[in-house]
Symmetry: C2
Subunit: 202 residues, 2 copies
C-alpha cells in the first residue's frame, strides 16, 4: 500500500487530495514539525531532504510534489487526472506545477523559512514583509495568463487543481486577499465542494 | 521548427543541451538580459513570466525547465533521454529535476536576485553571503543521496544530466569548490566531453 508522509499546512496536501481523488488505499503518516520530526534520523532515512511530502511505494520512496502528482496520474490513468496521451498538454500541466513549486511555493516560504537563504533576523523580517507582494504577483500572473477555468487546464480537472488549491489555502496567512483574484477565488470555492478535498482536509 | 529563447549563463542551457542531444533542428534566439529584453513587451508576449527558457512549438509556448526537459524526452523517444515506459523511474527523474528547479536553482538565485524576495540592500548582501553554504549543502545531498553515477540516474544518460551540468557551471561563481564533491566533479568532466554539450556552449 502507498504511504504518504505529510504535515498539516504543507504542500503535502496536494498529494493527499490526489490520493483521495484516485480512491486507492493509502496510509497517512503525520510528521510532527513541532517536534522537528522531519529532521529526525528515522525520517531522514526515508527522505534525506527532511521535507514532506514523501511517498513510499513498492519500488522505493519518491519526493517533490510535481513528481508525485505526475507519478500518481500515470500510475492511475483511469482517474483521468492528467492528459497522459498528449505530450504538449502534459507539458503545460507540468509547467504549471513547476511554476507553483519553484516560484509560488518559494515566495510563500520566505514568510517563515528565511533562514534557508539568509542569516540575519533583519533579513528574515524584510523577506516576511515582501510576501504579500510576491504572492499577489504570482496570483495575478496565474489568473491573467495560466488559469483557464473552470479548472486550471480548462474543462478537465487535473492534479494541478489539487496543487493550486493547496496554495490557495495559504493566501490568507500570506496577507493576500483572495477576492482580488475572482477566478482563483471561484476555484477555491469549487475545490472545497469536492468530496476528495473535504476528506483530505478532515 | 522549435524555437528556444535563451540567455547565456541561465538554466536555458539545459534545454539547449537536450536539443543538441536530440539532433532536431531548432532556432536559437538570444534574449539580451543586459538590455532587459526579458521584460520587454515583445518578450512578455511570448513568455509573460519574463524569464528564460521559453520553447516555441507548433502548439504554443512552453516554459519551466523541468517541463521542457520531460516534453522533449517524450516528443523524441528515439533519443532515449528518459525512462518513458517506467512511471517509477520517470518519477525519480522528475523528482531530481524538481529538486534542481525548486531548491538548487533557488539557492543560486539568492546570490544575484535577492530583490525577488526582499527589499533592503543589507538583506541582499546577507543572502549573497549564504550562497556558498546553501549550494554546497545541495551538492552534498546530491552526491550522497541522489547521484548514482556515471550519470545521474545510473547507467542511462538522461535529461537530468543536462540540467545538473548547467548547475555545475554555476558552482565556481557561487563560491563552491567542485572538487569537494568527486562524483559531481567527474560528472562535470564527463559531460564536457559530449559533442552536444560542446555545441551548446559554443
Amino acid at each position: 500500500m502507498l504511504k504518504l508522509f505529510y504535515a498539516p499546512g504543507t504542500c503535502a496536501l496536494a498529494t493527499r487530495i490526489v490520493l483521495e481523488e484516485i480512491g486507492a488505499p493509502y496510509e497517512l503518516i503525520r510528521v510532527d514539525f513541532a517536534k522537528q520530526e522531519q529532521t529526525s534520523p528515522d525520517y531522514l532515512a526515508i527522505n534525506p531532504k527532511g521535507r514532506v511530502p514523501a511517498l513510499v511505494t513498492e519500488r522505493g520512496v519518491l519526493s517533490e510534489t510535481p513528481a508525485l502528482l505526475a507519478y500518481l496520474a500515470q500510475m492511475f490513468p483511469q482517474a483521468g487526472l492528467a492528459p497522459l496521451d498528449d505530450p504538449f498538454a502534459f507539458a503545460e500541466l507540468q509547467a504549471f506545477n513547476a511554476y507553483l513549486a519553484a516560484t509560488v511555493h518559494v515566495a510563500h516560504a520566505h514568510g517563515r523559512r528565511g533562514s534557508r537563504w539568509a542569516s540575519e533576523p533583519a533579513s528574515f523580517d524584510d523577506m516576511k514583509r515582501k510576501v504579500p507582494e510576491t504572492m499577489a504577483a504570482c496570483m495575478e500572473l496565474i489568473e491573467r495568463e495560466l488559469f483557464r477555468g473552470p479548472w486550471v487546464m480548462g474543462e478537465i480537472y487535473t492534479v494541478a487543481d489539487a496543487y493550486l488549491f493547496t496554495i490557495e489555502t495559504w493566501l490568507e496567512g500570506d496577507g493576500v486577499e483572495i477576492g482580488d483574484f475572482p477566478g482563483i477565488a471561484e476555484h477555491f470555492g469549487r475545490m472545497g465542494e469536492r468530496k476528495a478535498v473535504r476528506q483530505a482536509l478532515a
